[in-house]
């Protein structure tokens, strides 16, 4: 390990890590990139398309080259930037996109074939023959070009999401951000300071600037101490604010445990931060200058070279050269020389040297070529008409700084070109309340950053009615770096603009020749800026090169805007832990645990988990179980938890009038203590939902809905109450979760009911079909009793407070042993209702009318109700499709829901389609397959045979058209 003096690393401790299987040592405070450089590893990856050897290029999140597969096993993470990975004990990483080894990569031959991989080559080359794309071209390209690989195992770590609210969000913890946070936090405002680095300070950590004549770290630790002590300020380190969303909402990812060998709690947290104001103090990213073969390992940004020397005490080589079109390059040379690094020379295209130093300066010179395939060895310099080679192991390239305006353009705000800065600055149209400051706003000196950060916070506080006042800020450097525009060094060899996607100046020229000059076309034709780094080090340079080619100034050539996320965000953290059973909320019925103990098989019904059937020992097939449950119910008594059906309590002096307007059928005559079936229409006249409505009192109704539509019906009724008829005295509340409701169905239902009910006359005379009453059960427990039937049998639904649901079910099963009381699930529930011809969700799919359900005459013409007017449209009235029963002619043949209906001798086309089957099952009662369906002219086809066609599986089944009421069509059983 070779280290320079100084740096912000903990030299007292060492950290062991592995890269491509080899063991290395680093220090706490290192990134993987700085530790690799300290171990003289310059070659870290291969490029995307040409498999060119690549090294570390930057010292931050803009890194295009040094991407590795981090960790192993299920935690393997592809495309992580070595420049942002905090070194931890036992870290393992692998280079990507190379085979068999990083130093010798077979697909390096792609580099020789580079003329074939020029701009737009995907579009041009793989067009023909068409069939080859899927089978040959795409798999081959995917194998050859690409980044890291996935583990293909489930992510073992936990992720979380959280919500934060503040007065001011400060994005970036450099000079500007710290000054802003300090200014705002001292007013007592709630402030959040977020920075992507693991240490606050931003560029101050990478520079040798002094603040009040002391090292910047002294001021940093003072400020950090104060900020840590303030209860109204929260510091989020290792947190990237990746996007600006509407109304002051920012998305941020905190890498809670990425710097630990293994997460102890969550690995990352997704924060949704709601901020009244925000300050964009995201600094700037240095740009490079394309020249021939500028992608060798060892060539990096000048500012990065300086950051590695100052913060991490490493240099990629003992002898380095600087290529700079700005004064910034001289700072790099001075800082490195001060640390004992030999400076081979500062190459400056400007005719006059901008500074002196104890190193050679080549004014009026540019770099025209390089040598050193696996690591830089020489650079070629052209000075006037002379060229010569200069020996160096690293080259720092400085072409000026681009403000990190990204978040300002997340609402399509367009950056504005500044000739004075030779850069795009934040323009108008940014997210409301987001104020740019510091280098992100072109205020790149330390003094400028501190002042503009504090001023931005003062402005933000003033907007919120707080008087901040500027804090005392330390004396700092305020000499701006002068620069000249040098966008690339012309030449015939390839000069890279976008390293990650392997886009060169030549590709831009080709795009220009092919008329792909608008920036949007340039991007897509060349894939420029479309890699995981979003072209942070490439976009502006490419735009400038295009401007040169078109002869138009940069502002007229276009601008480059950015979309979220600022840096890649893992899908795991976006999911925020909502995976597997936590994917969405699960609602459990009151009898869930009881059903589980009885070995029930469950089915998801929306958010609900419902018992589907209750297998018994010896039953080998679900049908066997369901048939038993159905027959037991029809012969004795069955029990089913129907809590999931929606229940809406409607109360008020005008409750009856309200109910009458909500349902299409008449409700005015419904007496207290009675229940009526009700059908709701949508305003367009189509059926919306159905259920029962019980009048519990003169001014109280209980509406039931289908399970699926419980939420939608409640919303709809609230809409009607608030938006249509606010003058009605009526109140609504959903009580679905408050009451457990059990269905007791079958000829022995009354006998069983009488065993739990307290002193209530349940005789047919006293409590006939469609009665309801408040009762008590089991010695005083309040309950509601409804005599309604979905199964067609004598049936009751008994509701008790939800917490008693399981106990009531257990007691009913226990007390009903001698009656054959049998719990049944949703599967048997379905069979029972199909046999009875009752409509359910399948029949109410939003495309059906009351008339199709056979309830056309129910729609009252005497009153105005929702959907009544539109249900009388001529087209709907003329529809002859109606719900019918269908019975397989051959009892062995199944009937399939979704099958379409045709005349027996008709061609099966859309034109001859007569309708479809909505629900189907095996009827144990009839011993054959049956179904319900909508059939054109159904009323006139009773008794005829038609075809149920299922062309997907080549089935054509003969079915007989029958009444949908397969059992007890007169309804004697349920009235018994």
């Amino acid at each position: 390990m070779t280290r320079l003096p100084g740096g912000l690393i903990d030299r007292d401790r060492t950290v062991t890590f592995r890269f491509d299987g080899r063991r290395y040592l680093g220090h706490p405070g290192d990134t993987l990139a700085s530790a690799l450089l300290a171990n003289n590893v310059r070659l870290v990856g291969r490029s995307f398309k040409y498999h060119r050897p690549r090294g570390v290029f930057s010292a931050g999140s803009e890194e295009p080259n040094a991407m590795v597969e981090l960790r192993s096993g299920a935690r393997q993470e592809p495309n992580t930037r070595a420049t942002t990975i905090e070194l931890f004990e036992g870290l393992t990483a692998k280079s990507q996109n190379r085979w068999p080894a990083l130093g010798f990569d077979v697909l390096g031959v792609n580099d020789l074939f580079s003329p074939f991989f020029a701009a737009g080559f995907y579009y041009k080359t793989f067009m023909w023959p068409k069939a080859f794309w899927e089978k040959l071209y795409e798999p081959a390209i995917r194998k050859a070009a690409g980044l890291g690989s996935l583990s293909m195992e489930p992510d073992p770590d936990a992720y979380d999401k959280g919500f934060l609210h503040c007065d001011l969000l400060v994005i970036g913890g450099g000079a500007a951000g710290l000054a802003a946070a300090l200014t705002a936090a001292r007013t007592g405002a709630r402030v959040i300071l977020a920075d992507e680095d693991f240490r606050l300070g931003g560029r101050l950590l990478a520079e040798t600037h002094t603040l009040d004549d002391a090292p910047a770290t002294r001021w940093l630790s003072e400020v950090e101490g104060e900020l840590e002590s303030l209860p109204n300020l929260r510091i989020l380190r290792r947190t990237t604010v990746f996007g600006a969303f509407d109304h002051g909402i920012y998305g941020a990812v905190e890498r809670v445990a990425d710097h630990l060998p293994q997460p102890d709690t969550v690995r990352q947290t997704l924060w949704r931060i709601t901020a009244k104001r925000a300050i964009l103090a995201t600094g700037a990213t240095e740009r490079h200058i394309p020249f021939a073969n500028n992608d060798r390992p060892g060539i990096m940004l000048g500012g990065a070279l300086r950051a590695y020397a100052n913060r991490w005490a490493v240099s990629p080589a003992h002898r380095v050269a600087i290529f700079t079109s700005t004064d910034d390059g001289y700072r790099t040379a001075r800082d490195l020389a001060a640390k004992g690094v030999q400076i081979a020379g500062v190459i400056d295209p400007r005719p006059e040297p901008r500074s002196t130093g104890d190193f050679p300066i080549f004014p009026g010179a540019v770099v025209t070529n390089t040598i050193g395939r696996l690591g830089l060895r020489h650079v070629e310099i052209r000075q006037g008409d002379q060229t010569h080679w200069l020996e160096c192991g690293a080259l720092g390239v400085s072409g000026g700084w681009n403000p990190n305006v990204h978040l300002m353009s997340h609402h399509r705000g367009r950056p504005v070109w500044s000739d004075a800065h030779l850069a795009f600055l934040p323009g108008a149209g940014g997210p409301a309340g987001l104020i740019p400051a510091g280098a992100a706003n072109g205020k790149g000196t330390v003094h400028g950053a501190l002042q503009s950060g504090a001023a931005a916070a003062e402005q933000a506080m003033a907007d919120l009615g707080r008087d901040a006042g500027l804090p005392d800020l330390p004396q700092a450097d305020d000499s701006p770096a002068t620069q000249t525009a040098l966008w690339h060094v012309p030449g015939t060899a390839r000069a890279w603009v976008d390293f990650q996607n392997d886009v060169t100046v030549k590709d831009i020229k080709l795009a220009h020749q092919e008329n792909m000059t608008p920036v949007e076309h340039l991007k897509r034709w060349t894939t420029l800026g479309m890699a995981t780094d979003q072209g942070k080090t490439a976009n502006v340079t490419a735009l400038a090169v295009m401007s040169e080619l078109t002869g138009k100034p940069i502002p007229e050539t276009g601008t480059t805007i950015f979309r979220p996320p600022y840096t890649p965000v893992s899908l795991s953290v976006l999911g925020g832990g909502n995976t597997g059973p936590e994917f969405r909320p699960r609602r459990l019925t009151p009898t869930h645990t009881w059903a589980e103990a009885r070995g029930a098989v469950f089915v998801e019904v929306g958010q609900w988990m419902r018992a589907q059937y209750f297998p018994q020992p010896g039953e080998t097939h679900w049908r066997e179980t369901v048939d038993r449950e159905v027959l037991a119910t029809r012969a004795g008594v069955g029990l089913c938890d129907v809590t999931t059906l929606g229940k809406i309590d409607v109360q008020g002096a005008d409750a009856a009038e309200f109910i009458n307007r909500i349902y299409c059928n008449g409700f005015k005559t419904l007496k207290t203590g009675m229940v009526r079936y009700g059908l709701m229409l949508r305003e367009d006249g189509m059926a919306f939902d159905d259920g029962t409505c019980a009048r519990m009192a003169d001014d109280q109704f209980v509406v039931t809905t289908t399970t699926a539509q419980a939420g939608a019906v409640y919303r709809h009724m609230e809409f009607a109450r608030q938006c249509l008829w606010p003058e009605l005295d009526v109140q609504l509340i959903s009580t679905t979760d408050a009451w457990a409701q059990l269905s007791i169905a079958g000829p022995k239902a009354r006998m069983l009911l009488e065993r739990v009910i307290d002193a209530h006359d349940t005789s047919n005379e006293a409590f006939p079909f469609m009665s309801c009453a408040p009762v008590t059960v089991c010695g005083g427990l309040r309950a509601r009793l409804f005599r309604i039937s979905f199964s067609g049998e004598l049936a009751y639904e008994l509701a008790v407070p939800a917490r008693y649901g399981a106990a009531l079910m257990a007691r009913l099963v226990d007390l009903g042993k001698d009656l054959g009381a049998t719990p049944y699930g949703t599967e048997a529930l379905g069979v029972l209702r199909i046999e009875k011809g009752h409509a359910a969700g399948n029949e109410l799919n939003g495309q059906t009318t009351a008339q199709m359900l056979g309830m056309g005459r129910m729609v009252s013409a005497k009153k105005d109700s929702i959907g009544a007017v539109m249900s009388r449209r001529a087209g709907l009235v003329a529809d002859t499709r109606v719900l019918v029963g269908l019975q397989a002619v051959d009892p062995e043949t199944p009937v399939v829901a979704g099958a379409h209906l045709f005349e027996t001798d008709a061609a099966q086309t859309t034109q001859s389609d007569l309708g479809w089957i909505t629900s189907a099952c095996h009827s144990p009662h009839l011993g054959c397959a049956i179904g319900l369906g909508y059939l054109t002219g159904g009323a006139d086809r009773m008794g005829t045979e038609i075809i149920a066609a299922n062309p997907l599986e080549g089935q054509s089944t003969r079915v007989r058209v029958v009444s949908p009421h397969f059992i007890d069509p007169e309804g004697g059983r349920l009235r018994d």
Partner: protein, 90 residues
């Protein structure tokens, strides 16, 4: 997005259910004629600008509100209780 519920204050838009244009409150009389009903049920404007729309504060107080929102910028200018809007128009 944030919506200023007149009852609950500023809330995340995910507490709300979006319905559509606020013309839904202006329900025609039963005898208003086919054209009026067709317009009410089916025809909606899609302005590149200000739009009155109905949101339901479903995960909050349950109020239906009329939000005046700019469809190009998502800026919200006004939020009223739908009930008040209906009563004012009556």
């Amino acid at each position: 997005m944030r919506i200023e519920c007149p009852i609950c204050g500023s809330r995340d838009r995910r507490e709300f259910y979006y319905q559509g244009a606020a013309v839904a409150v202006a329900r025609p009389a039963p005898d208003a004629g086919a054209e009026a009903w067709d317009d009410y049920v089916h025809l909606r404007d899609n302005p590149a600008g200000w739009h009155d729309e109905l949101w339901h504060h479903e995960a909050g107080c349950g109020a239906w509100v009329v939000v005046t929102r700019n469809l190009t910028t998502h800026e919200i200018r006004d939020v009223q209780l739908a009930q008040s809007v209906k009563e004012a128009s009556a």
